[in-house]
Structure formats: structure tokens, C-alpha cells
């Protein structure tokens, strides 16, 4: 079953075409990677999928609904969550609160019930905290739940961002360079976590990543962007042997 179907996406900024006629189809339960040199338009593509940018052309269908042009919060509420390349946590809130914010779309206490502190609100809040701690335990951060997010070590911040995305009980999670800046040890842990998201939680994962070993190891399908255009698509073996991909990464003549 197709979970995400982005067709012929084009987006220009002034004279620069950041994303040019890119199509990406993601089947439910897959791990799909988008790779490409710096400036290839990968993050712009993510921003279009999550509603931060409106595409100039093209359609996005998520879980059977057209979402191109919807607001980011509406798309998030439909079950698409993301992490950011340059970690964007709520630094001055605690680790637990960050996860609770991620649950926003699943908390429905109305204004008046909050003000009168109705029993239903207390119940919902208690359950949310319980669930948030489960999420934190899942990524291995439960013992740090009362720390300020910005005081966490770098690797933990990445994991907290994933926990926050998980808190929204998404169907699809977009990870923008989840291992950037990590040492090999942390990268191995992150790889394991991404795999568990799919295997244990049944999530569909789309990944932007520069670490080729990680990409080749866990993705079932890889799309390669270069100068905003998709130049190749396929499984790890196909991509590795594709001359255009090698050229994009290493320059012309490298294949000879």
C-alpha cells in the first residue's frame, strides 16, 4: 500500500530551482532514503512534504489525502512527523515536556475544562505523562526526563527529537540527517533505533542521510537528488553501480 505519493514536485526560489520535477513514492512499512550532495534539494523536498513550503507544481498524497498546500500543523496532525537537520528542540523546556508537546494533537482537553480542572483533564494529563515516559524509555532517555533539553549531550538531543516525533504517533517519520555529527558508536546506536522504529513500531521511515554505510545498510529504496533533480532510484546495489550517482558525488571522470 502506498503511504506517501509525491508527484512531479517543483519548487523555485527566485531564479534557483531547488527541487525540479521530483517524484517519490513510499510504500507503507519501508525505510526509504533520499541522498545527494550538499545543496541537492533534499531538505527543501522535506519542507515541501511537511508543508513548510508550498510546491510550485506537483501533488502530494499522504495516506490517501492530498496535502500539498496544507499547513504544517494540519499535516503533522494527519500523522507525518519529522526531525530537523539542525536539531530544533524546545531548549528551555524539560525533556519530558518536549515529548508532551509532541503529543499536542492527541490531547483534546478544551479550554474551559482546563480552567476548571475537570477530572477528565487530570486524567488525560496523567496518561499523557505516562505515555511520554514510555516514549522516552523507548529511546533510552527516561532517566533524563527532568533535564532541560538544551543541556543534553548531542546524541541524546537527536534521540529526544525522535522521541518527540514518536509522541505524535505518526504513520510516517521523516528523519533529516539523524546521525550528522555523531561518532561511529552513536551512529551504530542510531541505526539500530531507526530499524526498531520500523520493525517494532511498524513505522514508515524516510531518511535524508550522508552516511553511506548507514544508508546502504538499512534502506530498501534509495532516491538520489542532484541539483534538485532525481537522477537515480533503486535498491542499494543498483545505486552503488549507477555511473550518474558516482559522478554526482565524485565528479566527472571518476567512473573511468
Amino acid at each position: 500500500m502506498t503511504l506517501l505519493d509525491a508527484k512531479n514536485i517543483t519548487k523555485s526560489f527566485g531564479g534557483l530551482t531547488a527541487v525540479n520535477d521530483v517524484t517519490l513514492t513510499v510504500e507503507k512499512g519501508r525505510i526509504v532514503s533520499v541522498i545527494g550532495p550538499n545543496g541537492a534539494g533534499k531538505t527543501t523536498f522535506f519542507n515541501i512534504l511537511t508543508g513548510i513550503y508550498k510546491p510550485d507544481k506537483g501533488t502530494v498524497v499522504f495516506d490517501g489525502r492530498p496535502i500539498a498546500g496544507s499547513r504544517p500543523d494540519q499535516i503533522a496532525a494527519l500523522g507525518m512527523r519529522r526531525t530537523f537537520q539542525n536539531i530544533r528542540l524546545f531548549g528551555n523546556m524539560t525533556v519530558l515536556e518536549n515529548v508532551l508537546v509532541g503529543m499536542h494533537t492527541h490531547l483534546h482537553a478544551p479550554f474551559w475544562s482546563i480552567v476548571t480542572r475537570a477530572g477528565s483533564v487530570r486524567h488525560e494529563e496523567a496518561r499523557a505523562r505516562e505515555r511520554a515516559r514510555e516514549r522516552l524509555a523507548y529511546v533510552g532517555l527516561d532517566d533524563k526526563r527532568d533535564a532541560l533539553a538544551k543541556n543534553l549531550p548531542y546524541g541524546d538531543q537527536r534521540r529526544l527529537e525522535i522521541a518527540r516525533a514518536l509522541a505524535g504517533e505518526p504513520k510516517l517519520i521523516l528523519l533529516d540527517e539523524p546521525t550528522a555529527g555523531m561518532n561511529p558508536n552513536e551512529t551504530a546506536e542510531a541505526t539500530d533505533l531507526i530499524r526498531r522504529l520500523r520493525d517494532e513500531l511498524g513505522l514508515t521511515v524516510v531518511l535524508i542521510e550522508h552516511d553511506m554505510r548507514l544508508v546502504m545498510a538499512i534502506s530498501e529504496r534509495i532516491s538520489v537528488l542532484d541539483y534538485g533533480t532525481k537522477i537515480a532510484e533503486g535498491d542499494a546495489a543498483t545505486i552503488r553501480s549507477n555511473p550518474r550517482v558516482v559522478e554526482a558525488y565524485l565528479g566527472k571522470g571518476a567512473t573511468a
Binding site: 524546545f90 482546563i114 532541560l148 540527517e177
Partner: protein
């Protein structure tokens, strides 16, 4: 740096027995008894009474900061604010008026704190919502209404009570009206637009006396209605003989106290709810907040509406208490003053903002004028203070100096939100500690 005392300073260790355990009960009880005795036996307005009055209000704060049983806390605070202070007020009306003013500003500061402290939206025109509430009751309860249309007659004074709620709604509506055009703005730009909005409301109040006389212009509105004293007869039945003046002082004191309590409850409940967290998330990072499914527009408008509604309701009470309002009552300085209360007390922190509001009000109404009087008396008594030096002229200077010193030595406010205090002192710690080398290296831009 010498300015930052760690939480477990020698002072804190010395005073620890006063804040917890059986000694705390004894200390608070004795403190309360002494203050009460001093206030009730010597209620004359003087420097001594001023000091005792400030100590009395500090006691209420200590009561809440001590680790004593909750019923004791609430019981003692209720006795102090609900019994001792009103009785003292019947002996000396000046101090109960100061307390009422302080309460009015506590509500305003708490409302502004929702917008500035929680949601991080800098609002420099907050007093406009206070004006909306005040003019609402001012116009509709006085013959001013017949100026607009001779066929209309003022609403009866008993309508004061529903009008407090109406002021709440009107404040909220104006909050949304201000919010709508400024949704896309942040920081400095937002501050300028809100400043403009505040001025627009004030200038409207000043100039809407022609072609149709709505606000009576710079003359202001006089003889604003007060609600009938429905409880006067039962009180007289009890043998208590107060004149109307005293009764109104008591009435407004309790009305303001009630609104303050309600505001504190509402604000603290919102803070710890999904709505409060959404506001904080918006303050921290809008893009990340919206990616969590938080509807930015709705949440920002809600912050503006909630913050403004408290000011609207308080405006109605204020107009009725003052009997007279005019445009300068709602000038920019008033907005800045309320913002100073929020920042001085501790942005985002509810106890901090309450303390900040009480402190600034006392400073303006009591401490600074008293300092001036004391200096003047010293001058008259022959102390070597130059003849040309007029202490009363230097009140605002002292206030400004105090603000500057506070921001240098305690930028997070008197009683900061616990999480925020960490944030501001971190920078100083970072200067002292060596930078962690491997972490800095492991954090590339992207």
C-alpha cells in the same frame, strides 16, 4: 562572578529552619502576630507603619515559600489578607488603597505575563485592553451615554457585576483584534506594532469627543457608577458602623482580591496544560512547534485573548473604583510599568510576577514618596543636603536606577521561573568553565 550566589549559600543554610519544620510554624506565627499587633495598635501613616506594612506583605510571600502544611499556608494567608488587612484598612484607608492598587496591577501583570512570559510575544500596548474595560463601564454607566444618543439612558449600577464579565469578553475581543494583524510579526517588529496599538486606543479615547461625543475627550469621564452596597444592611445589623466611603474601600479590596485569586488559578492551570506547553513551544521555536501539530494562529490568538481579557475585566473594576478616568491614565508609561513588573518579578513565573507587581506598586505609591518625605524632613532639620535639591523630583530617577541595577545583577527577576533561571546563569557558568572540547567539535552546523 560575584553576582550569582549559588542556591545553597550561607544565608540559605542559616534561614533553613525558618522555612521548614516546626520552627517554620513558630516563626510564621510569631511574625504574623507581631505584624498584626503593630499594624492594629499604631495605624497612623508614618515611616514606621510603611515598614511594617511592607514586612506584612512579605510575610504573605514567606508563607507561600515555606515548606509547611498546605492548610496552614492557606489559612494564614486568608487570615492575613482577608481579616487583618481589611480591619487595618478601616483604621487607615491609605494602606488598603495601596493594597487594592497592588491587586489591580497583579492582575494586569499576570495577564501580560501570558502574552510575554508564556508565549514570548512582546506587547508594549497592553494597557489598551485595560482602557477598553474602563471606558466600557465609564461610558455605559454614566450620562456620557446620553451624549451619544439622547434616547439612551445609563445602565443601572447593579449591572456592574455582569459588566465585569462583559469587560472580560471585550478585552478578549480586542486581544484578538490586535492579534490578527500581527500574527506574522515577531520580536522588535511586534513590539512596535503593539506600541502603536496602545497609542491608537489612547488617542481614540482622547479624540472621540467629536463629531459624536463618545469618550468626552481629554476631559475624561466623571462620576462613574459604583455598584449598590447590597451587603451594607447586613453589616449594620451586625453592629458595624462604616460610612459608604469605607464600605466601598472594603468592597473594592475584596473584589480585586477575588479577581487576583481567580486570575492566579486560571493562569497556573493553563500554564501546566497542553495550552501552556504549546505557548512555551511557540516561544522556544515556532517552526518546531508547528511541526508538532500546534496551530500557530489559534494558539497565538488565544494567548492575546486570554492576556487581554484579564485587563478588560480589571478595567471595569478600576473605572468604578476611581470614579474618574481620562486618556492619560492609559498612556505608554503605564504599559511599560506593567512590563517592568513582569520582567522584574521574573518572566513566566507566576509567583515572581505577583511579587513584581506588588513591589513596583509599593515602590511607586509608598516607598519612593516616603523616601522623598524623609529626605525633605532631614533637609528641614538641618542635614547638609543642598537647598536646591528637591527629593520629590528624583523619584523616577531612583525607580530607573533600581530597574537598571536589577537587570545587571538579577536579570532573571526576583523569583524566576525555575527553569528560566538556569537558562540565564548558564552563560555565566560557561564563561567560568572551560568549553567542553569534544562536544563543541561534534556539533557541526548541519
Amino acid at each position: 562572578m560575584a553576582t550569582t550566589t549559588p542556591p545553597s549559600s550561607a544565608w540559605e543554610r542559616l534561614t533553613e529552619p525558618l522555612r521548614s519544620g516546626p520552627t517554620a510554624y513558630g516563626f510564621l506565627g510569631l511574625y504574623a502576630a507581631v505584624c498584626t499587633w503593630l499594624l492594629l495598635t499604631n495605624p497612623r501613616t508614618s515611616l514606621g507603619t510603611d515598614i511594617v506594612f511592607v514586612l506584612f506583605l512579605l510575610l504573605v510571600l514567606f508563607t507561600f515559600r515555606s515548606r509547611v502544611a498546605r492548610p496552614f499556608k492557606i489559612g494564614l494567608a486568608a487570615a492575613l489578607l482577608g481579616i487583618v488587612l481589611p480591619i487595618f484598612g478601616t483604621l487607615n484607608p491609605f494602606y488598603i488603597d495601596v493594597a487594592t492598587q497592588a491587586g489591580i496591577f497583579v492582575t494586569l501583570a499576570l495577564g501580560l505575563n501570558v502574552v510575554v512570559g508564556f508565549a514570548g510575544l512582546l506587547d508594549l500596548g497592553y494597557v489598551a485592553f485595560f482602557a477598553v474595560g474602563a471606558y466600557l463601564w465609564g461610558i455605559l454607566s454614566t450620562p456620557q451615554l446620553t451624549e451619544i444618543n439622547p434616547a439612551w439612558s445609563p445602565v443601572p449600577p447593579i449591572m456592574f457585576y455582569p459588566f465585569v464579565l462583559l469587560g472580560l469578553v471585550a478585552g478578549g475581543v480586542f486581544g484578538v483584534l490586535l492579534g490578527l494583524p500581527v500574527l506574522r510579526l515577531r520580536g522588535d517588529y511586534l513590539a512596535i506594532v503593539t506600541l502603536g496599538f496602545g497609542e491608537v486606543i489612547r488617542v481614540l479615547a482622547n479624540n472621540l469627543d467629536k463629531p459624536v461625543n463618545i469618550t468626552n475627550g481629554s476631559q475624561g469621564i466623571r462620576e462613574i457608577a459604583r455598584p449598590p452596597l447590597i451587603f451594607a444592611e447586613p453589616l449594620r445589623g451586625l453592629g458595624l458602623r462604616f460610612d459608604d466611603q469605607q464600605l466601598y474601600q472594603q468592597f473594592f479590596y475584596f473584589a480585586v482580591l477575588l479577581v487576583v485569586l481567580l486570575t492566579m488559578i486560571v493562569v497556573s492551570r493553563l500554564k501546566s496544560s497542553r495550552i501552556g506547553r504549546a505557548w512555551e513551544a511557540i516561544r522556544e521555536d515556532e517552526t518546531a512547534a508547528i511541526a508538532q501539530g500546534i496551530p500557530l494562529v489559534r494558539m497565538k490568538l488565544l494567548a492575546f485573548a486570554v492576556g487581554a481579557s484579564f485587563a478588560g475585566a480589571m478595567g471595569v473594576i478600576f473605572a468604578s473604583k476611581q470614579l474618574f478616568i481620562n486618556p492619560p491614565t492609559f498612556d505608554l508609561l503605564r504599559s511599560i510599568n506593567i512590563l517592568a513588573m513582569v520582567i522584574l518579578g521574573g518572566m513566566g513565573s507566576i509567583p515572581g510576577v505577583v511579587l513584581g507587581a506588588v513591589f513596583v506598586t509599593l515602590l511607586n505609591l509608598q516607598i519612593l514618596p516616603r523616601t522623598a518625605t524623609v529626605l525633605r524632613e532631614a533637609q528641614d532639620a538641618g542635614f547638609p543636603i543642598p537647598e536646591t535639591f528637591d527629593p520629590t523630583q528624583y523619584q523616577r530617577l531612583l525607580f530607573g536606577l533600581l530597574l537598571i541595577l536589577m537587570m545587571i545583577f538579577r536579570p532573571e527577576g526576583i523569583l524566576p521561573d525555575e527553569r528560566r533561571s538556569e537558562e540565564l546563569h548558564e552563560a555565566q557558568q560557561a564563561q567560568q568553565e572551560e568549553p567542553p572540547p569534544e562536544e563543541a567539535a561534534a556539533t557541526p552546523a548541519g
